[in-house]
Symmetry: D2
Subunit: 316 residues, 4 copies
């Protein structure tokens, strides 16, 4: 049933919209030949500075950016911003041409993506949702994981473009599958952060130094990426660097919870995690880092998760 | 404030009570000089077979087993069984002598341990709770992690005994701290198993093959020991080997939830996980393995977590 | 700022779409002068039978039904069915005229209602969401409570129509407010049903006959409409009459949960109730009554909520 | 199998320990013939003032109070306080005589009650747990509901005493059954308070004035004692009178949750309610009234539950 894959597009021109913390280093990998790059950003200065630094073109509107482009890439905070760029004067639909492939690297939601795909499809444009993981460091190194939803043949056409910033390009399923998987991964991260905080707080109340508890857990079956990488460096140290906003993780958990409900999957842990991160985001504000959610657990438990009783430590 | 540690006990005689799946390989490491080993088991044949195989003595009652022992080690299903061995004719209290150290390697609960410690303390016996992690393979290799609650000086006295089956001996805090930490670790494992199952089910409904989803998650921030080690080998493969009973994990999550409530730590994720594993244990029965809990999520979601759509896979 | 209310519409012609268990008795109240009634139903025989019995007209399509009507009333299972009737050949938009008032008595959802209102508004039609409570008996008696969302002036125009089947007509707020309040009320009902079942099961395990427990609770602070009216007549009696489908209550709780999430209201009890009713609906099937959800609690607890130990009863 | 009930005790002397907000008006009903009343209170002045006002005797210790009494009644904050009065110099066990009936009207917990019953039984004293509902007004009017656990024949012996302050005396089951049922009733109250607050907050976000929402709910299926009696008078009015402390409701919900877990009843709503009231108690402090828990929901939702938009109201 497999047919020969379509030939990759001739990528004479790539448009990149959204030069934020992740988008900007991604776009840098596309700033060199063989393709011409046109960038656009809501705050025009940012696009102009990028264009000047990398010898590419800054467009004055989304329509101008995408006009003549073979591939359009968006990287925005939420699907809502992507949808908002489509219509109106100077919008994407004003400039985009049939045959273009639209790749949305936003950590968006499947429902909005389905609407976007329909609108683009009506003018002959293919849509892929293609959120990335790997953070700013992965974006800079060009080693992102890209989770792609949409037609596999279309993905094959643009794979060479995605490979310029992505090390692992995974076709996940139909439109929305990439967004769903990204949201699910982040929801699991959120659950693990909260569960680890609860566990350390409970252990501390039973007299276990959080540093000791974490060391034992990280040598045992309860360990996770959160317990091994985030808690030692960010929580026990009280450093809480701001690398990925709690507001965005709240959004992602909410997307996963919405998909679960729409798909009729009973997911009580996921739904509860969504409530907890909503609370934490509200309590800690928009600037807080995602790991700072543990501060809510600490406050509720009246228990700081710091190596507070070092002299109690008697590890073998 | 640190005083010189007390000299290790002369371990002329060690009693080991409870030759189950973990206890039996632990006891084997104690069957050789310098100490004499006496074993006891509720089913007497098991103790006799062990004694015959290893050239040690099988006692006919707990009292006989502990009489004259410097160190007594118990390894039973729950603290309730340990408590039940103390009193009555032939019970531990009938045979144990002042100055003995009682080491309970059961995955028990802090509240019962406190009562046991009090009763033993009244007759001059020191109590340590010392649950282990590492499974049967760790017990056989003598590489267990031992989480110890109780007096640190007493731990120093018996450390050489524990080191015969434990690679990492960690003093966690006062009596009950070892049991609390073991329960917390296992509760986190339980949460991660359920959260991963929910996540894969949601992703599958959005069109993502569980094998693809798991591969991406295991390269991303949502990974855990559960997702990396348990799901590929046991869930996707549909193997579900029976290595650690769901009934015991249910018990452990319940202990952690009880400690949380007693300590007044609001822990909604932990409490909900306790309810879910109670349900899963009840639905799947006493013989089920802990990872089989995902079958409840699968049933609720009408979604098997198997690599069901391999031809959809198009990883880079 | 209050202006004089607009004069009520001259209701020369009312269209009623959806002759189900609630819709049919509602429509009967509109079958007499002063207005002419036109009915439509997906299953045409039902509309024809109604028309024959009541001397009104059965339309062959939604377009035919609404053509020339001053007021259009819909009463369908969900907002999805309402939305589906709008477009396409023979759809409502084909027949409806500017100035008509569209009253949707479906227990629908605010988000879809907003879309419907927008589409209708574009052709000069006003939209009110107007779900009802009171059940089939209230519909037959014409004593329904009607919860109305939309413009208050428009409500005043059609109030005389609504009063023919509704005793209490409440303006709740803007479009969607009626649907939201109906969903919230039903979600509270669902929470109370489940909480009462949990409570009776716990009490029964402590030795309290469910009949005794219920009698005491109904004389105390824990009582609710569920405990006072549903449990004695339907649960203790094991009668479980089928009057309101669990499938519909599941839908309503889901709507309330969706509104909560969209409105960023942390509502952990509501979200958990949504999961539980999803599970119950799935376990018990589409035909089950809403009160049968307690059977899931009974099964989980291994505890029937019946007056099982009558001889234990010793009420004063 | 029913045998003739034993004759009521000759109640020559009743001891009452605990003259708090509920205990004091209860004791007043016992201050007149036929029985002599001896009272004791931790704060001696309170007992002396009561004795002076009512012409009864104030004892200097629990032992003195119960010496020679036929019936001993306790009414204390928790079972822990009751247990603490038993032993030690001047404790109850020092003064109480075989054949006495001990009636504990505390809103206590079944587990501690079982221990108390065992200790009393060893000296020939019968124990009944007999928590009351009806509040201070019911205590003053002598119209309390009394939920009794323990031997039914023993209850018959003391029924005339209980009837002096109780209108409805219900035998619930074995020792602990009264405490369990009281806790369950209060847990249901707690769930209803929280669910109503969540529901009103969600409705308010959809544009429904809380006063309108409450009026509709109270005419519909989602109503409860909480929505009908507590919310109009205490929440919408912003009066929040302090009649029953949140700290005590938190305790009661915790007891119900503990019984559920011990009885292996999966009760996710109850367990979650326990977490929420723990949080609310902690956030609002020991002096807060139980209904003030809604303030936490208001804060989380950024939505006051007051009739804030009265001009929007357009009820029929």
């Amino acid at each position: 049933m497999q047919t020969a894959p379509p030939a990759p597009l001739v990528m004479s021109r790539v448009a990149f919209l959204g030069l934020g913390a992740i988008g900007s280093p991604m776009a840098r990998h596309l700033a060199t030949a063989p393709s011409a790059l046109v960038v656009w950003n809501r705050t025009a200065q940012r696009a102009e500075a990028f264009a000047a630094a990398h010898g590419v073109t800054a467009a004055r509107s989304p329509a101008d950016a995408v006009r003549g482009a073979t591939v359009v890439i968006t990287c925005l905070p939420t699907s809502k911003e992507v949808e908002a760029l489509l219509g109106g004067p100077g919008g994407i639909l004003e400039g985009i041409g049939a045959g273009t492939v639209f790749v949305d690297c936003t950590s968006g939601d499947p429902e909005t993506s389905a609407r976007i795909a329909t609108r683009l499809g009506a003018v002959g444009v293919s849509f892929l949702d293609a959120p990335v993981s790997g953070g700013t460091s992965g974006a800079e190194a060009g080693t992102l994981t890209v989770m792609v939803g949409g037609d596999a043949g279309v993905l094959d056409q643009v794979r060479p473009v995605l490979q310029r910033f992505g090390q692992k390009i995974v076709h996940c399923g139909p439109v929305g599958a990439g967004h769903a998987l990204k949201a699910v991964n982040n929801a699991m991260l959120a659950t693990h952060i909260w569960a680890t905080a609860e566990g350390l707080a409970v252990a501390a109340k039973a007299g276990v130094d959080p540093a000791v508890a974490l060391e034992v857990i990280n040598a045992s079956s309860g360990r996770s990426n959160a317990s091994m990488n985030l808690f030692p460096e960010r929580v026990l140290s009280r450093a809480f660097p701001r690398t990925f906003r709690l507001a965005l993780l709240d959004k992602d958990v909410g997307i996963a919870a919405d998909v679960a409900r729409a798909a009729r999957v009973p997911a009580p842990l996921l739904q509860l995690t969504a409530e907890l991160f909503r609370l934490a985001h509200d309590a800690l504000g928009d600037a807080a880092d995602h790991v700072e959610a543990v501060k809510v657990v600490e406050q509720w438990a009246h228990q700081e998760l710091a190596p507070s009783a070092a002299d109690r430590w008697r590890g073998a």
